[in-house]
Amino acid sequence: MHQLITNLKLFWQGAALSYVALFSWLRPTTFLASMIIFPLGQILFFTLLGIFATGRDSASFYLIGNAMQITASAGIFGVTMAIGGERWAGTLMYLFGAPANRLTIFAGRATIHIFNGVVQVLMGLAWGLVLGWVSFAHTDPLALGITILIATFSTAALGLLLGCLGLVTLNIMFINNLVYFLLLLFSGANLPITALPQWMQYISWSLPLTRGIAAARFIVDGASLAEVAPLLVGEFFIGVGYLVAGYVLFRIFEIEAKRRGTLEAF
Amino acid sequence: MFCSDEFIRPPRGTIEAMSFIARYYAPSIFMRCGCDAKRRMANFLMNNAIQVTNLRRVYKSYVGVFRRKLKEVEAVKGISFEVAAGELFGILGPNGAGKTTTVKMLTTLLLPTSGTATILGHDVVRDVSALRPRIGFIFGGERGLYWRLSGMDNLKYFSSLYQIDPAVQAKRIPYLLELVGLKERANEKVEGYSRGMKQRLHIARTLLNDPEVMFLDEPSIGLDPVAARDIRRVVRDLRDEKKTILLTTHYMFEADELCKRIAVINKGEIVALDTPANLKRVVQDLSVVELEVKMFTPDALERLKGLPFVDAVTVQEREQNSLVIVQSPRGAEAVSELLAQLNGATVQKVTVREPTLEDAYVRLVEGMDETKKEGAGSK
């Protein structure tokens, strides 16, 4: 019980801290740039490209795909930086040395980015509504909300894994960008999964977001929560899988680092 | 009135100088010019390289996350001093005293909030482009170099940006590397250099454009004793070459050893400005008692400070014990009373010695803090 309370406290502190960090980072101009212009830019670019290719009817396909994909900017970049910042600040050694549960701290820090991701997806969809590229007439808002939440969670879990990788690799921005753009390619945001070669489809289905985007498209078209449940359950467990992988990886790094005495090298 | 920018540049050559005096100095005698013409004239006649008048700098920053409050910090509170051409002038002060801010203002990197400063007759705010090629500066620490490049390439790059003729570069860079003792390792990457080597490379960098005035901001910070000694050797060489040098440091012995005059600065104000010998005179009537004490408590510190014959107390924490340094005019006679105030603590060693520049510095800096606390004008 005591352990649980301690962990809850740590979780809360981590969340509060990254909240503060997030908002000092988001000064009005920076906020405008990262929360509005960047997502809108990506959505417009790919949706217009899609319209150019296959006509206006396909707009909602690209819009939903890219609006959902925006969550990766918070989930991948936000989360990895919240963790990777530790290394840059040179405080990693102290964190390894501390008795606290590191995953709890990291998960706490990731939470705010999940919230942020959800907000960005909603804003992206709102842009689509304003531009007349999508209609929510047949959409169950609750089902859509749950879908967005689960997709964001599993993307952030991937971010957590990358963040742990970032603790030990030199150029985390390289990995981050690569994963972000691979998601753009594989998640079905812009290319229908079925249009990809078979071996690429395997990659698609093992990544987060793929099922979430598919589910979101169904729900906007009027499907019920029950109909997309298998997709959502799959998406959720993919997220759990990445979370566990991140934790295991982190433990291995930690133990190895202590054994070899290479903590300072971080 | 007739103070214009045209007078800021010092005259070059005799004729120009004479016409300068005729146009400028003569009227100022008769018309009692209210502007700072006289000061500038004196500056010119006394051959001052650096002239600082009431220089002040306020930093504004925002604190808080949601309700942002404007916070103002006055880092430099209106200081004035001048440095003669060819002089090695020291600014001595604790961390955060305003040394770096002062140097940044004098090197045109930061605008003063108020006050003026002229270097070689150029105003640091207005005559930036004329001034920059004539000065050089380094800031202490390891930053300010390209770590991925070799020492040689760093110098080549900067000299290109200083637009130094390639033919001149080819001669000067090897000469400078030799001067700072980096000739053998010039082609290695800077990331493999020790701190001392990086610092010497910094000095070579500032010398690329053969500056007339150099600003060295804590050049020996963070260096081991041997490396710091090397830096001092280089600085001494530069002094002997009649460069005007403004050196900031928080090591007393460094200032003592190198500088002709020292300004002691604390909390943005100059608390003393004199030669090292004269500064030491501040404490000549004092003796210094050093006590090595185990388990020294803050209470004991307060009690020692409360004694009427104690002028200043500083404590250095060491591994095994604390070194308590007490300044007092009574010297050896004070020891027994000091020990009485330390009831309970174990005193391992007592030394009574003559004051050093460091003690003068402690007294100046602490003395100022205390007059502030008491709110009285004098101590």
Binding site: W25, R27, T29, T30, L32, A33, S34, I37, F38, G41, Q42, L44, F45, F46, L48, L49, I51, F52, A53, T54, L170, N171, M173, F174, L178, F181, L182, L184, L185, N190, L191, A195 | Y59, K60, K104, T107, T108, L109, L110, L111, S129, R132, P133, F137, F139, G141, R143, G144, L145, Y146, W147, R148, L149, Y157, F158, S160, L161, Y162, Q163, P166
Partner: protein, 261 residues
């Protein structure tokens, strides 16, 4: 005098190029990212037919060029800030915009690779016929366009000087330029009020001429007229950039933002 400035620009170019070729992020930005864009664009535009191959290759190459330039010139300044050299180079007699221009040249040289990469991708992987119909004109436009492109990036650099948190601006400025310059779809798809914006962007004209030269529809008259226009725009950009740099460096001296506090 003029020669001295050229030396300084060349020094900045060499220095930046040498440090970029080993930078992981940059290898990504110049090689992998344009490839991913090209893959997606080839995928989306597949049904348009094979003659769009060269259009996509040129467009995604230009997109990669813009991204590298954007991040390259921004990071050049951020990097100087981190290494503590920004104050030092600001204090040299060489104007800051020239240093950034030289550095951008280094970026451009590397990102030319991204054009080659997306070209090869379309050719080898997708099997599109990617012949350049008017090679002479193509490379002429490419040269002029690149100079103007750098000048355009130069206008943004003062922003990065002022704000240490440049990453967000870099990210935000990526797509709008792709869209407005018509790299991968014509600007006719955009609302009419954005057209003037496209017209004042030299990459838009460069993309237009390159597409035309690649497709073999570039008339001599159009080439001359629009090339002159591209160069003129570049000149205006440099003029604006040098003024902005002066203002910003002045402001940096007031706010003490050159160092890393």
């Amino acid at each position: 005098m003029f020669l001295k400035y050229l030396y300084a620009i060349f020094a900045a170019f060499k220095m930046n190029f040498l440090s970029l070729v080993v930078d992981g992020f940059f290898i990504f930005a110049t090689l992998l990212m344009p490839l991913i864009y090209a893959l997606i664009a080839f995928g989306i535009l597949r049904d348009k037919g094979a003659h769009y191959g060269i259009f996509v290759a040129v467009g995604s190459g230009l997109a990669g060029l813009w991204t590298t330039l954007l991040f390259g010139s921004g990071n050049a300044i951020t990097g100087e800030r981190w290494s503590g050299t920004l104050e030092l180079i600001a204090a040299t007699p060489t104007p800051m915009w020239m240093i950034v221009f030289g550095k951008s040249l280094g970026v451009i040289l590397q990102s030319l690779l991204s054009m080659v990469a997306s070209y090869l991708l379309g050719w080898l992987v997708f099997g599109y016929p990617l012949g350049i119909a008017q090679p002479l004109e193509f490379f002429l436009v490419l040269f002029i366009g690149l100079l103007s492109f750098i000048a355009f990036g130069l206008m943004l650099a003062p922003l990065f000087l002022l704000n240490p948190q440049v990453q967000q601006f870099q990210n935000a400025l990526e797509y709008p330029v792709y869209i407005l310059c018509g790299f991968l779809f014509p600007i006719a798809l955009l609302p009419f009020w954005t057209t003037p914006l496209s017209y004042i962007l030299s990459p838009y004209w460069t993309a237009r001429l390159l597409q035309a030269a690649a497709g073999g529809t570039l008339a001599w008259e159009q080439l001359v007229n629009e090339s002159i226009y591209i160069l003129a725009l570049g000149g205006v950009y440099i003029l604006i950039a040098s003024v902005l740099f002066r203002i910003v460096l002045k402001k940096a001296r007031v706010d003490a933002t050159l160092g890393l506090q």
